[in-house]
Symmetry: none
DNA sequence: ATCTTCTCTCAGAGCTTTCTCAGACTGCGG
DNA sequence: CCGCAGTCTGAGAAAGCTCTGAGAGAAGAT
């Protein structure tokens, strides 16, 4: 409650017009009755929690960008959020400047006519069912693999820098001294490319990151 | 009686047209003779209680959204309500604003053409009769098992996170330190899979939750 | 009161997932 | 063509997750 007021003031100072909702149902009612540029959604909400709110928004075909605030830093929460249809994430406590940056990015991207299921070429990623298929054949992924693929799929055709993957899929901000991303891209390739022997799915962009090939 | 008048006045102030019923039978008669947008149903009713009313409505194929008001916040009541076919819940005493929000949500969703009986592949779940069959053979479930199966069946094809099951079937919000869900999924499997030796019915999605296989 | 049924906890076995590390490999600038 | 930074890969340790059987306690039936 204190946080939400602080956020409101901060955002207003930045020139945003901000409406507040205190419960999940309130949020839902407001979000569906007015055309917002973006929604900042705390997962900890009395009544319906943030996940439920987001899910329902998406079910109602509302594609307003959603930035989720979560206290816990668990893969589980992150996946739940992504499944629910959130666009981005922030783990409390966070830096206000960072939030602004992400919000700007989301608003710039605008509401995407995003179907619940993402299709890229013969690849299908279904967040709700948590199922991935290629050419109709189901591929089993671990939670982390799934989160990574989902993120790449949502940015298909864009090069996603390693650091961004670390931040969004792993919640780490220091790039140094880990090559998890590489390892997991390797896993994805092993499961999604080798058995299919097709044109590579994930392209390495040397010095930058990775890109899911569009189409 | 005082409550019901207050509600009527409040709702009217919001622009709703409100009809009142004081007994269960009255409610039933009115609900089936006129096409309401929603029904607010107190479980404590002279004559037929709210559960019975709701059940009968559903048996008559009336899918008007039902918001239940219950004084007690017991798992039992919640399960009974879900069994009876209520769409949402409110525990007394409640905030009028919250009720409005929920009502709005229900009305927005509209009367769901929800069949009283849910069929998923060769599985049939009949909430009204509280009967489960697979391939025509009846399977006996305990109340809790039934509630769990029903919830999964209503979300067939979607992964339902463990925590969501805890919240909706058990009324718990802290995931830590219990594995009831797992145990009960085990029970369901023992009763619904082993004797039938078919393709598994409930899939485990590691790190997330469970999913009832669609079709 | 006794018996049965139901719910839930607990703890251990077995398996999966995650991540690090080290060495092999690769593409690019010189 | 060489060297180097960047990338890939397999092995393996540690942590984590899921399942299961046993059993305690509560609720309900007889």
């Amino acid at each position: 409650m204190k946080l939400v007021r602080a956020l409101q003031r901060g955002l207003q100072r930045e020139g945003y017009v901000v409406d507040l909702a205190v419960t999940g149902d309130e949020a839902l009612a407001q979000a569906s009755s007015y055309d917002y540029d973006a929604v900042v959604l705390d997962v900890m909400l009395p009544g319906k929690d943030g996940f439920a709110v987001c899910k329902e928004l998406r079910r109602d075909e509302q594609w307003v960008p959603v930035l989720m605030l979560t206290a816990r830093d668990h893969v589980k929460d992150r996946i739940r959020g992504l499944d629910a249809g959130a666009d981005d994430y922030l783990v409390k406590p966070f830096d206000f400047g960072e939030m602004l940056a992400r919000l700007r990015a989301l608003i710039r991207r605008g509401p995407s006519e995003r179907p619940a299921v993402i299709e890229v070429g013969d690849l299908r990623v279904d967040p709700a069912a948590h199922v991935v298929t290629r050419g109709g054949r189901e591929v089993e992924l671990t939670p982390r693999e799934f989160a990574l693929l989902l993120f790449l799929a949502r940015h298909a055709g864009e090069v996603v820098p390693r650091i961004e993957l670390l931040e969004h899929v792993w919640d780490e901000s220091d790039e140094g001294s880990t090559n998890v991303v590489d390892v997991y891209v390797g896993y994805l390739r092993k499961k999604l490319e080798r058995p299919f022997r097709r044109r590579p799915l994930i392209r390495t962009v040397r010095g930058v990151g990775f890109m899911l090939e569009p189409k």
